[in-house]
């Protein structure tokens, strides 16, 4: 792999117009990555999902270079109907389109970031990989007091031009005071056997509100890692919803720093898996000051020989008195082969806090099925009804009613 990395890296440097400083940084990141390689199960954070093995088994050898100059035609059929929205379209590793048609032009700034790095609070080697091979990244700045009229949908599409490739994407968002933004990430892949490595960085200033919905529902054979870093100032709110279903493997990771008083973070997630899919959500919520709040709810429905992993951590430092932290994960295993692993973790250094977590996994309640069948439903109908209700609980946590309905339609949940 090392030779491939070196060769592809030289290609990147040659084709991108970079300053000497940037080249140095990229080189540094590359050597970091080369030393560590892909994360494996010896690392605590990757204990349940050995990415190195997964890539080896599903893809084999990866290549890291793609030509940024070749453009793709945007396929408008992937666009969501019935919801007016702003768009960012990624095709493979290229941003093909950014439009904020529904917004005031002077309130949003799109900054082409030529310089590469700001450090993530993430010590895994994938951030190094991303920094070394990322072609181009943008920063989206929402100005003071501006609340976007329509949600932003980011389409992550891939096509059959790429094969056994590693793709690195990066976006930065800054939400200035009193602003708000809704982001929906939609995956649509027609490619196979690629590794997508995506990093988002959100900077929320005072009173800012971020709602992020990540939807991975279309069947595909790609492997994905999606990292969200969220920094929160006073009174800010972040809400993250994850629907984890379509890819062969995806690990969604969220690192949230509650730095300002009265800031709060919500993470809700659904795993709905079939075949031998293996998905993971890992969250780290850092309560760094007084009166902050976090709430997490993760539910899984696992069929066939699928496997879901939830690692959630609540960290409370000694200054963060009056913290309220809650975490709940529940899983239904529908098949003998299915597997659910959880590591709900609390690390607490302050005494005046209210922190708790719960985790439960098991099969569908036979008594409930029996009850429904006595009311005239078939076994299959009762089963569906129960699963529906189980998942609806999470979807109902979505605070935006328009998007809630969109997502309900997408997964076919009925009320």
């Amino acid at each position: 792999m090392k030779e491939q990395l070196q060769k592809d890296f030289e290609n990147i440097i040659r084709n991108l117009n970079l300053s000497q400083k940037d080249i140095e940084i990229k080189k540094f990141c590359l050597s970091n990555f080369m030393n560590k390689g892909f994360p494996n199960k010896k690392e605590e954070d990757w204990k349940f999902s050995d990415l190195n093995q997964i890539i080896k088994k599903n893809i084999g050898e990866l290549s890291f270079y793609s030509d940024y100059s070749s453009t793709n035609k945007v396929d408008t059929s992937v666009f969501v109907d019935g919801l007016e929205h702003n768009k960012i379209v990624f095709i493979n590793d290229r941003i093909e389109k950014i439009d904020f048609d529904y917004e005031k032009k002077d309130q949003i700034e799109i900054i082409d970031q030529s310089e590469t790095i700001n450090k993530f609070d993430n010590n895994n080697s994938l951030s190094d990989l991303n920094n070394a091979f990322n072609n181009k990244s943008f920063k989206i700045l929402v100005k003071k007091g501006y609340q976007l009229a329509k949600p932003l949908i980011i389409y992550h599409t891939t096509n059959s031009k790429i094969w056994s490739k590693n793709i690195n994407l990066r976006l930065d968002f800054e939400l200035d005071k009193d602003s708000s933004l809704k982001v929906i990430d939609l995956f649509k892949d027609t490619s196979e056997k690629n590794f997508l490595n995506i990093f988002y960085n959100f900077d929320l200033k005072e009173n800012a509100v971020l709602k992020n919905y990540k939807v991975d529902r279309f069947e595909n054979k790609n492997i994905k890692y999606f990292f969200n870093n969220i920094e929160q100032d006073k009174n800010s709110i972040s809400e993250t919803f994850i629907l984890s279903s379509g890819s062969n493997f995806i690990k969604n990771e969220i690192n949230c720093d509650l730095k300002g008083e009265y800031s709060s973070a919500f993470v809700n997630g659904i795993f709905s898996l079939k075949n031998d899919k293996h998905h993971e959500i890992r969250t780290t919520i850092n309560h760094l000051t007084e009166n902050t709040k976090s709430y997490q709810l993760i539910k899984s429905v696992l069929e066939e020989s699928s496997k879901a992993v939830y690692q959630g951590k609540i960290f409370v430092n000694s200054k963060a008195q009056k913290t309220d932290g809650y975490q709940l994960s529940k899983a239904i295993l529908l098949n003998k082969e299915a597997e659910f692993n959880a590591k709900p973790e609390l690390e607490i250094y302050a005494d005046d806090v209210k922190c708790s977590h719960g985790s439960a996994s098991g099969s569908l309640n036979e008594e409930s099925i029996f009850y429904l069948m006595t009311r005239g439903l078939s076994h299959q109908q009762s089963r569906e009804l129960l699963i529906n209700g189980f998942l609806l609980d999470v979807v109902e946590k979505i605070t935006d009613s328009e998007i809630k309905n969109l997502i309900k339609n997408m997964i076919g949940i009925k009320e």
């Binding site: 605590e44 000694s318 008195q321 899983a331 295993l333 529908l334 098949n335 003998k336 082969e337 299915a338 597997e339 659910f340 692993n341 959880a342 590591k343 709900p344 973790e345 609390l346 690390e347 607490i348 250094y349 302050a350 005494d351 005046d352 806090v353 209210k354 922190c355 708790s356 977590h357 719960g358 985790s359 439960a360 996994s361 098991g362 099969s363």
Partner: protein, 480 residues
């Protein structure tokens, strides 16, 4: 000194469990094959035992000291330890209670420990009238009548090699982790218990009643076998604080329960925790593992951990037999600069297996406490259930309380439920108690005891009363 006098002296010393033969004999410092041969030789062990030790040592050489635990400690130089030294003779020990640390005596008083026991704990020669050995012998007779074997493990190696050979290392193999293999290579003594088929042990077995029980030292090895349909309750440790010079304690405890058998293992650990500034104290790195080998067997661990500078242990159950049950009840209290990383592992292999974990952690002062546990339900363990509850109580904002559960469910017909909470003692509760005339410290003691009640209830009666007092004492100085 004529030879007769010498003989008498020998006997005198022997009464406390040590033969003068081995007095002052010390293996050379460090760890190598010769030292292991030396230990094996001095214990007059058979060939197979030496092989067992050497095999463990071979493995130990390639292992690295683990470093994933929360409480970090300065590197231990394993070549700088005496792996065998004969127990100290009476000469080096304090001659009377007056020589002891007054703080220690005060604690004894609060716990209500009788004078002669205080002396015994500190190795002071006890007057023949109070000699616990004679009490022990009466108990021993009763046990022998029922066919129960309860003796030091070195004796069992000599007298019951077939049992030891069969079960030693069957739960904690010589190829286990770092500290366990170290123990397998160099263990000096410990307890051996065998309960024959269908026998219900008539009393709580306790290290207290075993001759040669104290001073077995740093590398203790305990093996308990409960044959089909038998029952035994075993008590380890003592509520009174134990002074000890050895810093590292790496004991191994193996339990084997055959069909329909039940083992209840209770520990009260109150080793020296170091002083207020966190200097000194014991490193308590113990490997405890129980195997529910037979159908319908049950193993239950209860622990009250209040001592040691660092406690690092996970008493575990391997639920291999169908319908077997594993339980873990724990109270861990850390104060001042103490650190604890403790919990359990419940490995479900058989069908219809059940496990229950109740863990209560209390941290005060500048201490740090971690619950780390594993619940693993394998794909064959149909219809198994686990229930876990771990609650932490924090006092002050200089301490930490952490919960790190690992939950693995590979069976769709099995259920796992896990709950954890972290909180502090509410002002209202404190206020209410103080209003009723308790001082702040008593009030905290009362509330904490209520918090721990579920676990304290699991302890044998006499022990429970003392443990309750101990909980209060361990938290002294943490209020206000």
């Amino acid at each position: 000194m004529d030879s007769r006098q010498k003989k008498i002296n020998n006997l005198k010393d022997y009464k406390y469990g040590f033969s003068t033969d081995i007095e002052n004999i010390q293996a050379p410092k460090g760890l190598n094959e010769d030292v292991i041969k030396f230990i094996s030789n001095i214990k007059k062990e058979p060939e197979w035992m030496l092989k067992f030790r050497l095999k463990a040592f071979e493995r130990f050489k390639v292992l690295k000291e683990p470093d994933w635990q929360k409480p970090k400690f300065p590197k231990i130089d394993y070549q700088d330890i005496y792996y065998y030294s004969a127990p100290k003779s009476m000469k080096d020990k304090p001659k009377s209670l007056d020589e002891l640390d007054p703080k220690l005596l005060e604690t004894y008083k609060k716990l209500g420990i009788p004078l002669q026991e205080q002396a015994r704990l500190n190795g002071i020669a006890v007057d023949a009238v109070f000699d616990s050995v004679s009490v022990a012998t009466t108990f021993k007779d009763e046990l022998t009548k029922q066919g129960i074997i309860f003796c030091p493990i070195s004796e069992a190696i000599q007298n019951h090699p077939e049992l030891v050979k069969k079960y030693l290392g069957s739960v904690i193999p010589t190829s286990d982790h770092f500290f366990a293999t170290l123990n397998s290579a160099v263990f000096t003594d410990g307890s051996f218990v065998y309960i024959p088929e269908g026998v219900r042990c008539p009393m709580e077995l306790s290290t207290y009643f075993r001759i040669n029980a104290s001073n077995t030292g740093q590398f203790e090895r305990t093996l308990i076998i409960a044959d089909k349909g038998s029952y035994v309750s075993y008590l380890e440790g003592c509520t009174a604080p134990m002074r000890d010079e050895n810093q590292l304690h790496a004991a191994n405890v193996e339990l084997v329960a055959l069909d329909d058998a039940e083992i209840k293992y209770s520990t009260v650990q109150n080793w020296y925790p170091g002083d207020k500034d966190g200097k000194g104290g014991i490193y308590n790195f113990v490997t405890k593992r129980g195997l529910c080998k037979g159908k319908n067997s049950k193993i239950s661990w209860t622990q009250v951990e209040t001592g040691s500078a660092i406690t690092w242990k996970y008493p575990s159950c391997i639920l291999k037999g169908d319908n077997s049950v594993g339980e873990f009840y724990s109270i861990a209290i850390t104060n001042n600069h103490q650190k604890a990383d403790t919990g359990t592992k419940m490995i479900h292999l058989g069908k219809n297996t059940k496990s229950k974990i109740i863990s209560k952690g209390i941290s005060a002062g500048s201490s740090d406490m971690t619950y780390r546990g594993l619940v693993d339900i394998s794909s064959k363990a149909k219809n198994s259930t686990n229930y876990t509850q771990c609650d932490s109580l924090l006092m002050g904002n200089k301490c930490g309380a952490h919960t790190v559960p690992y939950i693995k469910n590979k069976n769709s017909e099995s259920n796992i439920a896990h709950e954890a909470t972290t909180s502090k003692i509410s002002e209202e509760q404190l206020h209410y108690c103080q209003q009723r005339g308790l001082n702040a410290e008593e009030a905290v003691g009362l509330i904490v005891n209520g918090f721990c009640k579920e676990v304290l209830q699991q302890l044998p009666m006499e022990f429970a009363v003392e443990a309750q007092k101990l909980v209060g004492i361990s938290l002294e100085g943490s209020v206000g």
